[in-house]
Symmetry: C2
Subunit: 344 residues, 2 copies
């Protein structure tokens, strides 16, 4: 789905709200009562008598981020009309798993910035970042165990294994001139979309929803995650550090197998020598990122990537059709549009 389609579709009353404002405000507002408790739980469970652990964890967690994964878990549970609060624990667990992967990713990638702040490993050292990531991962499982839901545990432990496989695959494919779009989709479905899918699926499971609804929310999370990651990868060639809260150009410097790069390399054979040098031979000089950004636009690679992202956002929206119209469904539809239209 692209913007033109959004404008020409005749909207149902609540869908006007959905498509008119592609942001997460409606979702955040609906989730707010639950998120107050979830944020308190997050703060409570990252405590440890070993002082560096909460300090390091708070550096990242208090820096905010969008809390998208807990929001997804809450929205899934509420959309399914949950009568319990198991999604509190699962939301906190999902955020801990996500934070653990961020801490480890920043060590793995030697990243300088995260959420607009100096990366934790540059303050506390890589060893502490690795260990605090492990701590948060363990705490995530403690939180899940407390819900008593073996199925939620199954979903999130499997997703955790898939995430790491995606990250290793990404590492292996760095600086690979022959990377394919299929490889890329496999990587991002593992490293990003699997946790989005697990967050919404486990929220549905916790609510006691039907298998049809659980499947729909898995599909929603998976497609949303794909759309979200593609837009992230587009922004890395488009934005500035100030916008993103991390370094634009990081993916280029790391030779990361992202869709914009794959499409640009395919689209500009005349520039083969450039890509061969900066990606194939890893020889990057000042100005190369700017040239890459220029080629991304002139070749149409960014537009093409955006079109792929919109296809996934569209699928995410479509998977919600089995639910009755209402504020929760609207907010999730809106989130799907936001995932590809956002500029930060």
């Amino acid at each position: 789905m692209d913007s033109a389609n959004i404008d020409t579709v005749r909207p149902a009353p609540e869908a006007v709200q959905t498509t008119a404002k592609p942001d997460v405000k409606a979702l955040v507002s609906l989730c707010d009562p639950d998120m107050v408790d979830i944020n308190a739980l997050i703060t409570e469970r990252m405590q440890s008598e070993v002082a560096v652990i909460p300090a390091l964890a708070a550096h990242l967690i208090a820096a905010g981020g969008k809390r998208l994964r807990p929001l997804l878990c809450v929205a899934a549970a509420r959309l399914c009309g949950t009568g319990n609060t198991h999604h509190y624990n699962l939301s906190a667990a999902v955020e801990f798993i996500h934070t653990a992967t961020l801490l480890h990713d920043d060590v793995v990638d030697s990243s300088q910035l995260r959420r607009g702040k100096v990366a934790a490993h540059l303050i506390w050292g890589a060893p502490s970042s690795v260990l605090v990531g492990d701590f948060l991962f363990a705490r995530a499982f403690e939180l899940m165990v407390e819900t008593g839901s073996l199925r939620a545990l199954d979903i999130l432990s499997k997703a955790s294994a898939v995430i790491t496989q995606g990250e290793v695959l990404q590492l292996m494919k760095a600086f690979d001139l022959n990377l394919s779009q299929a490889d890329y989709i496999e990587i991002i479905s593992s490293k990003t979309a699997a946790l989005f899918a697990a967050a919404s699926e486990s929220g549905a499971v916790a609510s006691g929803a039907s298998e049809e609804k659980i499947q729909a929310l898995y599909d929603y999370g998976m497609n949303l995650g794909l759309a979200f990651q593609i837009q992230d990868d587009i922004l890395d060639y488009q934005g500035s550090a100030a916008d993103l809260g991390k370094n634009a150009g990081d993916d280029f410097a790391e030779g990361k197998a992202t869709l914009p790069l794959i499409l640009a390399m395919q689209a500009t054979p005349a520039e083969a020598a450039f890509w061969d040098r900066v990606i194939g031979r890893r020889e990057q000089a000042d100005g190369d990122f700017q040239r890459a950004q220029g080629l991304m636009v002139s070749s149409g690679a960014l537009d093409a990537a955006r079109s792929v992202a919109r296809t996934y956002a569209d699928k995410a929206r479509a998977s919600l059709e089995i639910f009755e119209a209402g504020p929760w469904r609207s907010a999730l539809e809106n989130l799907a549009v936001y995932s590809v239209e956002r500029q930060t």
Copy 2:
């Protein structure tokens, strides 16, 4: 309990066997039928289509090690007369958690050797070691979920969080002249003994044992783990790389807060200037480790540490008294003696 006590105690018939051969052969032999299945499960579950993952994991797992934690889990389940095979999954899970911590520890400590082989991060890089550790940790939870035992999941997720706290605390206390024996016991009970305790406790839980037996096996594992780690720390000042399969002297180089170091610093005030330089100011030169080794012996620090270790081994043995005499109990009693008498 020290060697003298072992010799003077009038032994019950099966206790002769227990104390006469402080090795793990009897335990290994008893566990062998179960370990065939458990090793197959370990190999099966470390597979991934991302080839570097099984390659890196196999480098460490196939290098062997004593498989003490799975052995403990099996022995606990069998001692309690288990009628199921849940301890297979739990044993594999415990070995994966242990392997994950080794991979991360070696990155954290920049270790060169592990189990007599070049450390994985020196072959595949620290990023892969971090991520494969995460993968194994996630797989451990998948294995546990399959048992359907929320209590075992609770035990092992809590232990996992405790382990990381112990490791962070150890990191914080490195090169600290004022480290106390209480700090040290807190560190090793977290980073080592917690997983020994969780392995034997979860084995008992999986067998459906009584609360009294579960508690006894928790106590056994905890005290065994303390004895085992103290002996490890003694060997680091005593052995050579060839004996240990890792670098003797690593703990000294890292200023690690171990019992031999604490006792030696307390026992040799005349050598305060030496300890202040090598630990307080982290200025270590060639020959300093040999001098430290000499002081460890002449001050009686190693003997004193050994005596502390034997106290814990003694407690471990005592906790088994509620079980009827038999080969499983004997093998575990023997393991307790072995934990402090071993030289590798």
